[in-house]
């Protein structure tokens, strides 16, 4: 079994949105969004509710096809099995089967990703101490706390050692300790050469964690760069102030007819 996470030798960015637009009926959720995330980078997609963050992540996860443009994972169209095998996706909800135990959930997804029972056992044994799963592997998921479910979901997302991790608001609803645990985990994945893309509306968290940040406002990318670069561009001392300035500027200059 070749682990998808072995990214050495792969050239170019691992997750790419190329002028991707997505509309639902007559509502434009994402407009001409271009992102490019190489291995070993944490990219934070920021924006208020309804900015189009989740839609952008879903296009990269192969759940939604772009209306225009393209989405690629590890060089493959995002909506192919080849791309999905190299992707770990953590949705806004934990996405666990409540009536199964974490061990059964991991076994199911591991086998869907082509791992053998032995490989799954080895991976679970390796992940359990890192994600503090030892005491909960054989309890039903519906009986777990929010933090425990989130840790099981992370294990599910990284079980097959994917090259790209997409995390939709991974710290939402978590307490301080669990949030910190999550941030440490994301950093560890970066250190292993993974491309990590995550969405959040906690600006302080993004500042702590991200190598690069993209600001989404009404479906458009209004700024991109490292936290330091963005503060410098706007002349503001915090990311929050920078974002407010960028959003205001975008409101004033936006031409609806220019979106697509």
């Amino acid at each position: 079994m070749e682990m998808a996470g072995k990214v050495e030798g792969m050239l170019g960015p691992l997750a790419v949105l190329d002028s991707a637009s997505k509309s639902f009926g007559d509502v434009l959720a994402v407009a001409r969004l271009s992102l490019s995330i190489p291995g070993g980078e944490i990219y934070g997609l920021l924006g208020p509710n309804g900015a189009g963050k989740t839609t952008a992540l879903r296009m990269l996860a192969g759940l939604l096809g772009p209306s225009l443009g393209s989405a690629r994972v590890a060089g493959q169209d995002a909506n192919t099995s080849a791309a999905k095998r190299r992707l770990g996706y953590l949705s806004g909800s934990t996405g666990l089967f409540g009536r199964l135990t974490p061990r059964e959930v991991l076994d199911y997804f591991g086998q869907i990703h082509g791992l053998s029972r032995v490989e799954i056992g080895q991976r679970v044994a390796a992940l359990a101490p890192a994600l503090a799963l030892e005491g909960i592997l054989d309890r039903r998921c519906e009986a777990l706390s929010t933090g425990e479910r989130q840790r099981v979901s992370i294990a599910r997302a990284v079980l097959h050692d994917p090259a790209v991790l997409i995390l939709d608001e991974p710290t939402s609803g978590l307490d301080v300790l669990a949030s910190r645990f999550m941030r440490d985990f994301i950093r560890a994945e970066r250190a292993r050469g993974k491309a990590v893309l995550f969405s959040t509306h906690y600006l302080a968290e993004a500042e702590l964690l991200c190598d690069r940040i993209g600001f989404l406002h009404r479906g458009r990318l209004i700024a991109e760069g490292s936290p330091t670069e963005i503060r410098a561009q706007t002349g503001k001392s915090t990311l929050e102030e920078a974002f407010l300035a960028l959003a205001q500027n975008a409101e004033e200059t936006e031409d609806p007819g220019d979106l697509l």
Partner: protein
């Protein structure tokens, strides 16, 4: 197809379902406590079949030379509407259904005769009753007959037991399998979406077809398990009853045949699981899935009931009607009359429909549709505050049906014309008007009214004037209406005795239904269902509801076929008016034909002529549809 993924999903779904208390309660507890009751439809079918039997003369033969053979033959021949006297016959003829009754005259036996019949066949039992009445009329009151008759059924006790069981068991099988598939099908589709596990599954490298096949197999297994558990429970109950009533037992239960018959549980489970999973996949929530599946549940029960109650042979088109074919195959296996052709046609039909439902499920269970947020429509100035939903559509149908059954039908039974008028204008038109007023819409928007294009109206008129022939001939071929019922319908709706003029009849039978029925069915019902289903499914379900609304098993097929055509016309033209025109033309043609007594001539036409009429009808209807499609509004650039 990746079989490993299919079985992984199958195992995962099964494990989840068996850990769910609601599934277990429905699968095990509920069936042990409650068995469904037969409804009005069952009684109607039974009555219809009884009338058909009454119209058919029984075949009878006399053997032997004892008693006064000539006198008996004269009495039988004096009743040509009741009997056809055949020159010869044997007990084997009665046993195999070639003869209804055999009277054996014993020579030199003091006027004794033996009447042989088959108690497991309705026709044979009817013949035996008729012979009794002939005998009774032969002798004046107070006079004793000069002979004694001994009756003997040729049906073995086990066959009779099978016959009695065949009236109940097949329907129970279908009902239990349906019940067993119902909740798990919703749980693995809408339930998955509601629990938030859908995204996780759809972004993993599993093909949608494999995923849905695993789900369908898991639901089918649970449905089959429910069926088997219920049958086991029934069998144990039956054995207990037989043990307690051992002294009075008059029938044997053919356990071998019953076991063989119960094997239909498995194909039935596959079919219902695939159909329910496909429907469940369209729903956004658990509740919505329940609302969608309930009508389909009852739609499937209806033909199954018809199969259980009526004495239909498992052949021709009947072998392809889901629900009905399963019931009939189970019945035939029980009474030992199953044929290879009927069995194979049933299996082929189940397999084809299951694969079609599975393919539809895989197509529907698409993240693009399920994960995307519902489109937010921007309301134009002056547009209604809300539109009709699928739930509104089903509630409206239920209200209209209840009003018809409990309020207007009793009026119709007293005075047909005024009852019909009130039922249509108040129960349908009034209901839609009230719905429009109370739901924040205008009456026009509730109807989906827009000004039609003249070409669409012309096309609808052509389709309405021509489709009746194909519909009538096809329906007569599939499920012929007993002549007596047809005559009653003709007399009541289109009296030829001058009691109602042609124009008044047209207003009552063509204009009124065209306006009022279209207002409800191709108005809010079709448009409401269309918000959740694709065009074909919405049109077919609306047509099925339209057929059921007429509450007549013999008119179910023609009204459904007409409903499909009208729904298609309404959607293609983007207006309800062409559907009204087509409905009017269809009914007006039937009234005109009946008034000119031309409809009776149809019955005398040759097979070849009828085929030509059907072809002409289809060609003209297609031309009408082409005109409507040609008139379709194109989106503005």
């Amino acid at each position: 197809m990746n079989l490993r993924h299919v079985f992984l999903t199958f195992g995962k779904e099964l494990r989840e379902a068996l850990r769910d208390r609601r599934t277990l309660a429905i699968m095990i507890l509920l069936p042990l406590v409650i068995y469904p009751l037969l409804s009005m439809l069952a009684a109607q079918v039974a009555t219809g079949r009884e009338k058909q039997r009454e119209e058919r003369p029984s075949t009878i033969a006399l053997t032997g030379t004892g008693f006064d053979r000539d006198a008996l033959a004269t009495q039988i021949l004096a009743n040509p509407t009741l009997f056809v006297l055949l020159p010869s016959g044997t007990p084997a003829d009665v046993e195999h259904g070639r003869l209804d009754l055999l009277v054996e005259l014993a020579p030199n036996n003091g006027g004794k005769l033996t009447v042989l019949y088959d108690a497991s066949r309705d026709e044979s039992r009817t013949a035996e009753d008729r012979l009794d009445s002939v005998f009774a009329k032969s002798f004046p009151d107070g006079c004793a007959p000069t002979f004694s008759a001994r009756k003997r059924s040729v049906a073995p006790q086990a066959v009779l037991g099978g016959y009695l069981l065949s009236k109940a068991l097949p329907l129970f099988v279908v009902l239990m399998v349906l019940l067993g598939a119902f909740y798990p099908a919703i749980d693995v589709t809408a339930g998955e979406r509601e629990r938030g596990t859908l995204e996780t599954v759809l972004c993993s490298p599993i093909q949608r077809f494999d995923l849905m096949l695993g789900k369908v197999l898991a639901v089918a297994t649970l449905a089959a398990l429910t069926g088997v558990l219920n049958l086991a429970s029934m069998a144990i109950t039956l054995m207990q009853i037989l043990r307690l009533a051992a002294q009075n037992v008059v029938v044997d239960i053919p356990w071998g045949h019953a076991l063989l018959s119960s094997l239909v549980i498995f194909p039935a489970s596959l079919l219902f699981a695939a159909a329910f999973v496909a429907l469940g996949a369209t729903a956004r929530t658990f509740k919505e899935a329940q609302t969608l599946l309930l009508p389909v549940y009852f739609l499937t029960v209806a033909p199954a009931m018809a199969g259980a109650i009526g004495e239909y042979p498992l052949a021709g088109i009947v072998a392809w009607i889901p629900g009905m074919n399963i019931t009939l195959l189970a019945r035939d296996l029980l009474v030992g009359r199953a044929t290879w052709s009927g069995g194979l046609a049933t299996m082929a039909s189940i397999l084809l429909l299951s694969v079609a439902a599975l393919a539809a499920a895989a197509r529907i269970y698409d993240s693009e549709r399920l994960v995307a947020p519902p489109p937010r429509r921007q309301r134009a100035a002056g547009a209604p505050a809300r539109t009709t939903s699928a739930g509104d559509a089903l509630v409206l149908f239920a209200l209209a049906f209840l009003l018809l059954y409990f309020v207007f039908l009793p009026i119709e039974q007293r005075h047909l014309a005024s009852g019909l008028l009130v039922a249509e204008w108040v129960g349908l038109f009034g209901l839609v008007w009230l719905f429009g007023r109370t739901s924040g819409q205008t009456f026009k928007s509730a109807l989906g009214y827009s000004r039609p294009r003249p070409r669409a109206v012309l096309g609808a008129a052509l389709a309405g004037c021509s489709a009746w022939a194909a519909v009538a001939i096809f329906s007569e071929w599939v499920l012929p209406v007993p002549k007596q019922l047809l005559e009653e319908l003709r007399k009541s709706l289109i009296p030829l005795d001058g009691s109602r003029g042609f124009v008044a009849t047209l207003l009552l039978v063509a204009v009124t239904p065209a306006i009022c029925e279209e207002c409800l069915f191709r108005g809010p019902i079709l448009h409401g269902l269309r918000t959740r289903l694709d065009s074909v499914a919405a049109v077919v379900i609306t047509a099925a509801l339209f057929g059921l609304f007429h509450m007549d098993v013999y008119r179910l097929i023609p009204t459904m076929m007409l409903g499909v055509l009208l729904g298609f016309i309404a959607l293609e033209s983007g207006s309800i008016v062409p559907a009204m025109v087509a409905h009017f033309c269809n009914n007006a043609m039937l009234v005109t034909l009946a008034s000119l007594r031309l409809d009776r001539r149809l019955e005398t036409l040759s097979h070849r002529t009828l085929t030509l009429i059907v072809i002409a009808s289809i060609v003209l209807t297609t031309a009408g549809i082409a005109l409507i499609r040609g008139a379709r509004r194109r989106p503005e650039v």
